[in-house]
Assembly symmetry: C2
Homo-oligomer: 553 residues x 2
């Protein structure tokens, strides 16, 4: 899966043919306006122009609203009646819970929704830019972003919303390949909006009854997919893969030396952890935070495809033991950040078993392949792990943040992390206290990350996620085949080429892909295919665009 | 600010008179239907009934939509045209990025928005229940929450959305006093919806240009308010107060012993931290995670009002030094979790200076008082701290999650946490790299928590937040005065009274307040006043309700 100049990892529903020539915003705006006979087209137009000069851009929006001043008579909270509301006379204090704030609130929220709907439609349109790039100092000057003592009108607030989206990166754009989290799922988005509306906290069943149950149901399903008997075990949704990996390291240490909780690292021998040289930096970050130290993370050699070499792992474990150190944790990677490589889990599991070491699988990126009958063999052996990180916000395209830590042993998280705060986890409540999951967590308050994954799973079914993932891998293979014999790609030996092409890419805003060096290799593009909106044509576009932007280099 | 049976901490716009007699859902539904002449009333009605029997509840929604089947002709993405879309024939795969998915997507999202708008209006209505309580096993049976292989229709997805909100706790309800995070701010909500729509990550300017700048602007403003010269310093928005406190402890340790990052705790002498016996459990949780150990957190005595006693702090520091331990961290609490007490920061700062110890202020709850010219004296001395936790998602009522860690010394976070991953923090990018904040964080990906705070601040102004906080404190004083001489409250010596009243409260669903014991005190209600929707009448209602529910005890 490798080539000089390109390494790529693993999109779905097609959506028409992308225009190869990016139009100007104004030209696009006219096309959009034709597409929608009503106000939405003009709204898109306004959206594109707002932010250039905030105050002047306000005028056309108003004019447009003014021109449809009569109500359509449907009496529903829709655009139609918005024309009767003048947001420039209203303030946040006019909204709920203000007296008679219902209608104003609905009109205000509906206006924000319209801005978002226009942005969403625009994001999926290939003829729009991925990014309207400005340097930090320039962006600071393009708008008034300062905070002041006095309130602004709701009209100003709406202008800020438009400006924020104008300068945002369109992560839903079919040609955005820049990060492991790409795309925007519509059911996931709806679920995230609903989560914000419910505005609660995961720590107790008392304040999040439905979400706590959905987390229980979903974690169990994920453990079944891993292959743990009857889905037994434990787990939690954490604020991201780095924190999930840190949880795993914390649990491994506690399992071996439970006294560390009370007595700290000074009560235990020198602990050492093992991970491949291609693993994610969060393993070292976690070791630094947990008081283990980065020097106690031993990096195991990877082969030319980026996979951990098991014989080197065993050699280093034996070596560490000979020095009197205690190996306590091996983190195998299922889908490395740069090459997308899968460590050989079966061989690593054998070594961990032999030496009685906690085996963790960092599947933040590649864990989602478990949803694919065709590709899940790459994770064979994961069922033998003690813990696994799996981020549905990456290849499964669940909106950010959504990261799960799955743990084979039940009850360990609770005993490792509990502090039994009596104001939150009262033992004399009327319901089954096993649903109060908060004391398992490092956090106290914990954001609701479950609903978007659960609702997307209901909407797609397991087979829908499978199709999405299979498509990612298919696009990846397509790209590989297309560039493997193509002139120009193998010959990139100058590390300055990729940064220059990337800078031009952002200035033109046509597509986005990340780059980096690795080991003795100079800067190359790291192609991420996780965007459900991307098609074969988008891959073709990317290749052409890289060549176009780099032709003089 | 204390009384047996009640301890309370610190709401805003009034919204009419609350009805003292909770109506049945059906009665409320009829009232709501009268309030709105159009479909929204019926929608509220449907919302209330859905979930009882999911499939039957579907009928009235359809009937209602069917009855307004003709379009209003406005051609905008509003309710009017929804009647033409039959969600029971559509699946997630029909939405964007599907070909011609624009209109279907807008109709689907609009339907979800309508469900949410109905929920929001209902949440602020005092005649509705705070909670429709069911025991976990019962709730599991009330709906099909399972995940399956096959996809569900968008109609089923909408039913799931309605059911989820039906059983949610209405945290926006004016009579929800249960947690430190209460209320639902409409501008904050709009901002959180927009954040979800932008679906990006805080780690680099490249993928979150506007949000990175807004975090910069807002953190600087917060540091100015703390009183650090010209707002100099550093900071980050973290996933919650517990993580913010853990960051502070990590920084304090690194500042004193930078070698701990590479070499771990075995390279340093035994470190000890100090905090009051009333402090939040996250201090101990952090110490356990960081390898310091809970036994190295020395709890300092608090006075009868819950404030740390400085002389006891100094005594314990001297004692620890005599034992050869190294005091490295004092966490003072500004607004304790249970009593809402403020530790004497000036005296603590003197001690920390004398002994050269990092001073942290955990102002997760009480930090917001800095926004009030009337009440900020309670935090006098905070400007002398090395770091501060301040959660705008508590008394400032920003939607969850929104927690800031502020640090006086610039650059320390970066050197403490950086791992310089070359695939993310490339040093040959075209823009000013100081805007790539990701390497300061313990996390790799980081959720965008800034936009809702920034937008609310713009909408309210500093004076708007001040008014909101002053109102909370005013309500708190009102409650104190009302119950201090009231019969029944001082005499609660039986620890079983509060749990029984709380259980009945949840079953009736009329209001929610938390309880707990503390030290030698039996269970008492912990009254939290941070809900901007609460009024004097709601406080009256709470008192009456506690008496009504507990009259036979």
């Amino acid at each position: 899966m490798a080539s000089h100049g390109f390494w790529f990892l693993g999109a779905e529903n097609a959506s028409g043919n992308g225009s190869q020539s990016p139009n100007t915003p104004r030209a696009w705006c006219q096309a959009a306006a034709q597409k929608f006979s009503g106000g939405i087209g003009s709204k898109l137009c306004a959206l594109l122009n707002v932010g250039e000069a905030e105050k002047t851009a306000q005028a056309p929006v108003k004019a447009e609203d003014g021109s449809t001043a009569e109500s359509c008579g449907c009496n529903k909270p829709c655009n139609c009646s918005k024309a009767t509301v003048c947001f420039s006379d209203l303030y946040a204090t006019d909204l709920l819970p203000a007296l008679n704030g219902d209608a104003k609130t609905m009109n205000f929220l509906q206006e924000v929704v319209d801005i978002m709907l226009a942005y969403i439609v625009e994001s999926f349109d290939r003829s729009t830019k991925v990014i309207d790039f400005h340097y930090p100092n320039e962006l600071l000057q393009r708008n008034n972003w300062e905070l002041s003592d006095e309130p602004e009108t709701l009209d100003d607030i709406l202008i800020s919303c438009r400006a924020t989206l104008k300068y945002a990166i369109k992560t839903a754009h079919p040609r955005y390949f820049n990060q492991l989290s790409t795309g925007l799922d519509m059911v996931g988005l709806a679920a995230d909006w609903l989560t914000s509306t419910a505005n609660t906290n995961m720590f107790t069943y008392e304040v999040a009854p439905v979400f706590v149950l959905l987390e229980y149901v979903t974690l169990k399903k994920m453990r079944e997919i891993i292959g743990w008997q009857e889905g037994h075990g434990d787990g939690i949704f954490s604020p991201g893969g780095a924190i999930s990996n840190m949880y795993a390291m914390l649990l491994a240490r506690y399992k071996m030396f439970p006294e560390v909780k009370e007595k700290g690292m000074s009560s235990v021998p020198r602990l050492v952890a093992f991970t491949s040289e291609h693993s994610h930096f969060s393993i070292k970050k976690g070791a630094a935070a947990l008081g283990i130290g980065t020097e106690s993370v031993i990096c195991i050699k990877a082969d030319e495809r980026g996979k951990m070499i098991p014989s080197d792992l065993e050699r280093r474990i034996v070596e560490a033991k000979q020095k009197g150190y205690v190996p306590f944790f091996v983190s195998a990677t299922a889908g490395t950040t740069v090459y997308g490589a899968f460590d050989p889990l079966m061989a690593i599991a054998d070594i961990c078993k032999k030496h009685d070491i906690w085996m963790h699988v960092d599947g933040a990126w590649g864990g989602s392949l478990l949803m694919s009958r065709k590709h899940r063999w790459k994770l064979n052996g994961v069922e033998r792990a003690n813990s696994m990180t799996w981020n549905p916000h990456k290849m499964m395209a669940v909106p950010l943040q959504c990261s799960a830590l799955l743990v084979r042993e039940e009850g360990l998280m609770q005993s490792c992390n509990q502090m039994q705060a009596c104001y939150l986890f009262q033992q004399d409540k009327q319901y089954d206290l096993s649903y109060d999951t908060g004391d398992k967590a490092l956090q106290c308050g914990r954001h609701v990350d479950i609903f978007k994954l659960w609702l997307m799973w209901r909407a797609k079914g397991t087979i829908g996620f499978e199709a999405q993932i299979d498509k990612c891998l298919e696009l990846s293979e397509y790209l590989y085949n297309k560039i493997k014999d193509r002139e120009g790609y193998e010959m990139v030996f100058d590390g300055k080429v990729a940064p220059v092409i990337k800078a031009r890419m952002m200035e033109y805003g046509t597509t986005m892909v990340s780059y980096q060096p690795q080991g003795d290799k100079v800067n190359f593009f790291r192609m991420v295919i996780s965007n459900p909106a991307a098609t074969f044509e988008d891959i073709d576009f990317l290749i052409e665009e890289i060549e176009r932007l780099g032709q003089d280099l």
